[in-house]
Symmetry: C2
């Protein structure tokens, strides 16, 4: 029996799995956007994840400037160069799997059966199953906006006249269209995404991981809207430096609740279908109590469960349970409070919250707790899970996040009384 006989407790799937997600699609179909989104989600859940972008190999090894002629399928020399870049990225990917990588995202057009067969055979020889994800778009408005985006941001067109860039890029797309072959049953497992989640085709999907990825792909949208994250107002336990508990707000915390309501009223546009989510704990619902929106309380937003240490100060834990204290210092991400939770546990239980937040098209205010907020923040800002345990998320501050095509804008708005530094 090769597998460990006792796996860590987790909501992750029962078996160690690896997977190569292989993107398919013409240029300007959002492949890179989707690749990053999937990578961010998987990394946050704790998978060893990496994107292998064939275009980056081309730029790095063959230089930056390639006009559309390089992508002409009748240009045999260029075709051979492009094929060798695809191979190089694939070899690196397979090497990375050998070193323990779990999910690779292979980001390239892979627009011919021939090219896809090459990637698939390479992966399957290495024992890595393949899932193709094709992005198809026939909505001219979406394509035009993506082309504009690429023209402005692509390293391929730095310093090039914008009109010229658009022209060249359109010619490049036309070269790919010539030989484009959409996915079919001969490609094995695949997901086809048509017009950013408007239609999905799922073919021969097996297993938990592809199912999770489908949930992310189903909820893709590019409607900008803010997510306001905040901790509850100061509670009696904050003052006493005790962890956990279910204390009431202090007068300072109460003032924050009032100021948060002002913030809310200043930022919400009438007609916005705003949602306010809180944990089930008193300090969170009390913080929300003056808000004009109905509340939704989620147990999944409750603070990390400190188990048998609930209600103690860190000083007391250190004095009475020095070994536990030391274990926690050593690996705060994985350390599980006796009869309580680890940060890793918190991330797992927050997964439905992330899916729901991604799905929302209107603003959402989330009133929660330090550890939980750190985990949510790490997702949006694409921080590694290990950073969750240290991120700075002060009391009495609203963090406004606005997800965009390439990440997330952040603004921090301090509201109300400053609070003494926390441990």
């Amino acid at each position: 029996m090769e597998r460990p006989s006792y796996l860590p407790s987790t909501l992750r799937p029962p078996r160690a799995q690896c997977l190569a997600v292989v993107m398919v699609g013409l240029p300007a179909r959002g492949k890179t956007y989707i690749s990053r989104k999937l990578a961010r989600y998987l990394s946050w859940l704790g998978y060893q994840t990496r994107v292998f972008n064939v275009g980056a190999y081309r730029r790095e090894r063959l230089g930056m400037k390639h006009t559309h002629e390089f992508f002409d399928p009748s240009n045999m020399e260029a075709e051979s160069a492009r094929r060798s870049m695809a191979r190089a990225a694939m070899e690196d990917m397979l090497g990375w799997f050998r070193e323990g990588g779990e999910v690779a995202i292979y980001d390239a057009t892979n627009h011919t059966r021939d090219r896809r067969a090459m990637v698939r055979q390479g992966c399957e020889r290495a024992g890595v199953p393949v899932l193709f994800v094709e992005s198809i778009c026939d909505d001219e408005a979406i394509i035009a906006s993506t082309v504009r985006e690429i023209k402005l941001n692509s390293p391929d067109y730095v310093g090039v006249d914008p009109d010229e860039a658009v022209q060249d890029f359109s010619a490049r797309i036309a070269h790919y269209e010539q030989r484009y072959e959409t996915l079919d049953a001969s490609d094995g497992s695949f997901v086809k995404l048509i017009n950013v989640g408007h239609e999905l085709v799922l073919h021969d999907l097996r297993g938990d991981l592809p199912g999770r990825l489908v949930r992310v792909l189903m909820n893709l949208h590019i409607v900008p809207r803010p997510v306001w994250l905040t901790r509850h107002g100061e509670s009696a336990y904050n003052v006493a430096k005790r962890v956990g508990g279910d204390a009431d707000l202090t007068p300072r915390g109460e003032r924050f609740a009032v100021r948060l309501t002002d913030f809310f009223n200043d930022h919400v546009i009438p007609g916005d279908d705003v949602q306010v989510w809180t944990s089930t704990l008193k300090r969170a619902t009390q913080t929300a109590r003056y808000l004009p929106s109905p509340l939704v309380t989620w147990r999944a937003l409750d603070e990390i469960d400190a188990g048998i240490f609930d209600g103690m100060t860190y000083e007391e834990i250190k004095a009475q349970h020095p070994e536990e204290y030391a274990r926690r210092q050593k690996d705060k991400l994985r350390y599980r409070y006796p009869r309580g939770e680890s940060y890793e546990d918190v991330i797992q239980r927050l997964e439905p919250i992330i899916i729901e937040l991604e799905r929302q098209r209107s603003p959402t205010m989330v009133i929660t707790h330090r550890a939980v907020l750190r985990c949510l923040y790490a997702y949006f800002l694409d921080q590694p899970p290990s950073s969750c345990t240290r991120l700075d998320v002060p009391l009495h501050t609203v963090i406004e996040l606005t997800p965009n095509a390439y990440g997330c804008d952040e603004e921090r708005v301090p509201l109300g009384d400053p609070v003494p530094e926390e441990v």
Copy 2:
């Protein structure tokens, strides 16, 4: 503001939602199987759910025996009778929505655009969004097995010679094929299921609830395999009649662990890829410790969290917190232990476990706790959530469940020492 200003804490979607799931497909494509599966899942999650089967209206109102001529589209009189049955079922469904129904499953062939437009307009006028679910099957082996199943079980063919039944039923299918129109963009939101989950097409899906249904539909399969549910062996807390805690096994509990291993070895066929899942609590992992399979420990399988009453006996709770005790007696399903969980909470956190168990194609042994086992059992045996709080699940007994097309077979195997009656 019409919505309540404070919704119960839940992992359910933030908004009260209702939905009409309208099945589409030829006879013998598993529509009724899928309808029941979705209904069972949704009821268990706490949605007010009901299946409206148009065939049942026909049998009830027009009598049992209809030969294939009744389904001939050129038979205008029958066509009109069938249409009025479809309307009657729809009117009942809309009435049920008005009385607070949340998710209706409208089970009929709905194989023409015309008929679907009728159902959709009726629902939309009542403010109920519609999701079509079409089951397409071109695998002759699956169809033949479904036809056989129907021939054996359908109330339409009671007392009919089997060969004659198959012939008539095939003629009935042929009538429907004549006018069959598959779903397309004009139908709005839909899911197409091709060959029992081999391929899915998701069109214009919005919202959390359709997303959840897709997860169920993605994992449909009809490979029979047992699920063995058992509680841990007797623990010191069982003897002391204390709730919660993290006690060790008693000698009697230890003997159960040994006997469970014998049971396992007797029932597992070499080569079976058996999974053993336990909670993270000592009494569960100790019960599993002699099993020859690696364990997967899930926090989601931990016992209901008794919050501030953890470690107390029911007598003590009653004596020290009579009001809480009385509240719990009144509504055990929704009663949440202070700082702990309700049965409803437990069901929500078990949802990923159910999805995983449905997905498995090989046997799974689940070693868990009384409240958790009750909730899992209620799902498989299609018991209402309210029954969860009372189901009889004794210690030292393996419950073998084998899901089949129309429900679940159950066998109970007592192993080891009898244990005194529990409260």
